[in-house]
């Protein structure tokens, strides 16, 4: 009797080895180097760098705007995904391609375009300025840029789930007397929630590390519109490698914890809503 389970395609040893080697090479080694070089500066220096008001403000801004952008994308991305999954309309192919554009466009191009649009004399900013709404060079501008780059993540994770959702279960809910709102809240919502959380997590993670599109529209005023990735960059430009490394390490740990929590949340909602 053999204890090994037979599979159609062989090669567990090889693929597992490859996976570990690849992950180490691409992710683990660079990241551990970061930790290693940060450890060279000592705890006292580390805390001194990390706890300066400028750094704390940058963290607060980065996380706040990333959450805001991911939330906006969850709402509107869901709508876009719904429209693309459910309806046939002329130009659907174009709309579908537009969703992926933020993936393909160099983020700096997006940043420059958004800045010129939303500047006080820009195409859109011109109409917002008299209302007292300033977008470019404010946290609002950062949210706009992060929303732009995060949008495809939500749409592309939710869309396939919506496509797989049978129309019949909505019809079943209707014949059982559920209103449209009840059908959405009790039947469709729980089915797409795990995908929506994944989309949110991806958009959020992308926004945390975003650099290219933000530098142009943010204005980069220390304490006010300076995001963490930019702060690291400016430390590097001043040859403050230790400071940059310390901040980067904190960023790394925080991203990891947040992604881990979101993963747990997602696992919980999947277990609850779609077992077996």
């Amino acid at each position: 009797m053999s204890l090994k389970r037979r599979r159609i395609l062989p090669g567990f040893g090889l693929t597992m080895g490859y996976t570990l080697a690849y992950l180490s090479l691409v992710a683990l080694i660079p990241l551990s180097t970061l930790a290693l070089s940060a450890s060279g500066i000592g705890w006292a220096r580390f805390w001194h760098v990390v706890l300066t008001p400028r750094v704390i403000a940058a963290f607060r801004l980065t996380i706040g705007t990333a959450i805001a952008a991911a939330l906006i994308n969850s709402g509107f991305g869901l709508l876009v995904a719904w429209t693309l999954a459910r309806y046939e309309f002329p130009g659907k192919g174009v709309a579908d391609a537009l969703v992926d554009l933020p993936f393909a466009l160099p983020t700096s191009v997006a940043g420059i375009t958004l800045t010129s649009l939303y500047a006080a004399n820009g195409f859109v900013g011109r109409w917002l300025a008299p209302l007292g709404i300033k977008v470019a060079f404010t946290p609002l501008g950062i949210i706009v840029a992060l929303t732009f780059i995060g949008m495809p993540f939500v749409v592309r994770t939710v869309e396939p789930v919506l496509q797989d959702l049978e129309l019949e279960i909505e019809e079943a809910a209707a014949t059982l007397g559920a209103t449209r709102f009840q059908t959405f809240r009790r039947v469709i919502g729980p089915a797409i929630l795990p995908a929506l959380i994944t989309g949110f997590a991806l958009a959020f993670a992308r926004a945390l590390g975003e650099y290219g599109s933000v530098v142009f529209i943010a204005g980069n005023l220390p304490m006010r519109t300076e995001v963490v990735s930019l702060l690291i960059m400016s430390k590097l430009e001043q040859f403050d490698y230790a400071g940059a490394t310390a901040i980067a390490l904190v960023m790394l740990v925080m991203s990891f914890i947040m992604l881990f929590l979101i993963n747990l949340l997602q696992r919980w909602s999947t277990a609850r809503h779609a077992p077996g």
């Binding site: 049978e166 019949e168 279960i169 019809e171 079943a172 809910a173 209707a174 014949t175 059982l176 007397g177 559920a178 209103t179 009840q182 009790r186 039947v187 729980p190 089915a191 609850r272 809503h273 779609a274 077992p275 077996g276």
Partner: protein, 357 residues
């Protein structure tokens, strides 16, 4: 509740799914909508349920017009071929759904909901499955849950769209008998769609045969089987041999051989000289080694299948057409048939349809 359907028409693009269909179903019946795929049977069911609007025509429930009511307002129980259970809810929650979504004023208190759901789970013999999820149940069990869920809202009509279509033969038969018993207990007007003639004849009090968006015949299973109104119905309700013939002097001739015209025949005298189609069921053909009966014709045995309650013999007639005959096992031994043997076939009963009278 009685259901009346008047002059329903439904098209999908150029395809006419239902063409001026009218139907009157009294309270408490178990009705089968029978037809091949594309005959419009599912469209008709969905129009009755309010899931699909008709292009023209009316639907009446208890003599009240209901055409413009939504599915939600019609209070029908609908069972889907692929169950359409809510995957993220337990079996209990699935069944309770219809009660929980009621407006606060008519929603039963939680204890009453629990009692009702347990009662229904007992009815479908799945009281142990309340905390399971649909994915943990077999197809037959899922369909029973779907039925319990539909019954929870106490519908006035139960509509079932190919309810056994996705199940394997054994489970299907079991569930069929079980549904029959359930209907005898609850007496709720029920309509089910099927393409399986055996299922329709076994289960329904009344069968509606649909073909190309039109009703071919409405009747009890007995009426349908023994006096089919059209060639289509005859053909659809079981295996059949088809012979092309002519009518002369009130007799049917198949290329010169006259067949005895017996048993509920239409009057053929006025149809002299017309072409006719002769339908004979395989078990209604007698087989002999010699032409001892008048009107017998020769045929050569091609294949014998003795696995089953009857022996199925495939032959080629003297005119070169394929013929199927069913005989008893005893008869097979008497005749000592084997492929290549020539035998004589004589219809014990046939049904003649006359072209273009």
């Amino acid at each position: 509740m009685s259901i009346e359907v008047r002059h329903i028409r439904k098209t999908f693009g150029n395809f006419v799914a239902l063409d001026d269909v009218s139907l009157d179903l009294p309270t408490g019946e178990l009705v089968a909508l029978l037809g091949p795929s594309g005959s419009g049977k599912t469209s008709l069911l969905r129009i009755i349920a309010g899931l699909e609007p008709p292009d023209a025509g009316e639907v009446h429930f208890d003599r009240e017009e209901a055409t413009n009511r939504s599915a939600r307002e019609r209070k029908v129980g609908f069972v889907f071929q692929h169950y359409a259970l809510f995957k993220h809810m337990t079996v209990f929650e699935n069944v309770a759904f219809g009660l929980r979504v009621r407006p606060r004023a008519t929603r039963p208190p939680p204890a009453a909901i629990t009692a009702k759901v347990n009662e229904l789970l007992k009815l479908v013999q799945l009281e142990w499955a309340g905390e399971r999820y649909p994915s943990q149940l077999s197809g037959g069990q899922r369909q029973r849950i779907a039925l319990a869920r539909a019954l929870a809202v106490e519908p006035r009509v139960l509509l079932l769209d190919e309810p056994f279509g996705a199940l394997d033969a054994k489970v299907r038969e079991e569930l069929r008998r079980w549904l029959r018993r359930l209907h005898d207990e609850l007496h709720i007007t029920s309509i089910f769609v099927t393409h399986d003639q055996e299922e329709a004849l076994e289960l329904a009090n009344r069968v509606v045969v649909l073909h190309n968006g039109k009703i071919e015949q409405i009747g009890t299973p007995d009426e349908l089987y023994h006096s089919p109104a059209t060639p289509f119905v005859y053909n659809f309700l079981g295996n059949v041999n088809l012979f092309h013939g002519r009518i002369e002097d009130g007799q049917v001739y198949i290329r010169g051989t006259s067949l005895p015209a017996n048993g509920g025949q239409p009057d053929l005298a006025h149809a002299n000289g017309k072409d006719a189609m002769v339908y004979v069921r395989p078990h209604l053909l007698d087989m002999n080694l010699r032409p001892i009966v008048k009107g017998a014709f020769a045929a050569t045995v091609r294949h014998i299948n003795a696995a089953g309650p009857k022996v199925k013999v495939e032959l080629t007639s003297q005119w070169g057409d394929p013929v199927q005959v069913e005989i008893d096992h005893d008869r097979l031994r008497e005749l000592q048939l084997e492929p290549g043997v020539e035998v004589y076939l004589s219809p014990r009963e046939n049904r003649v349809f006359v072209y273009q009278i």
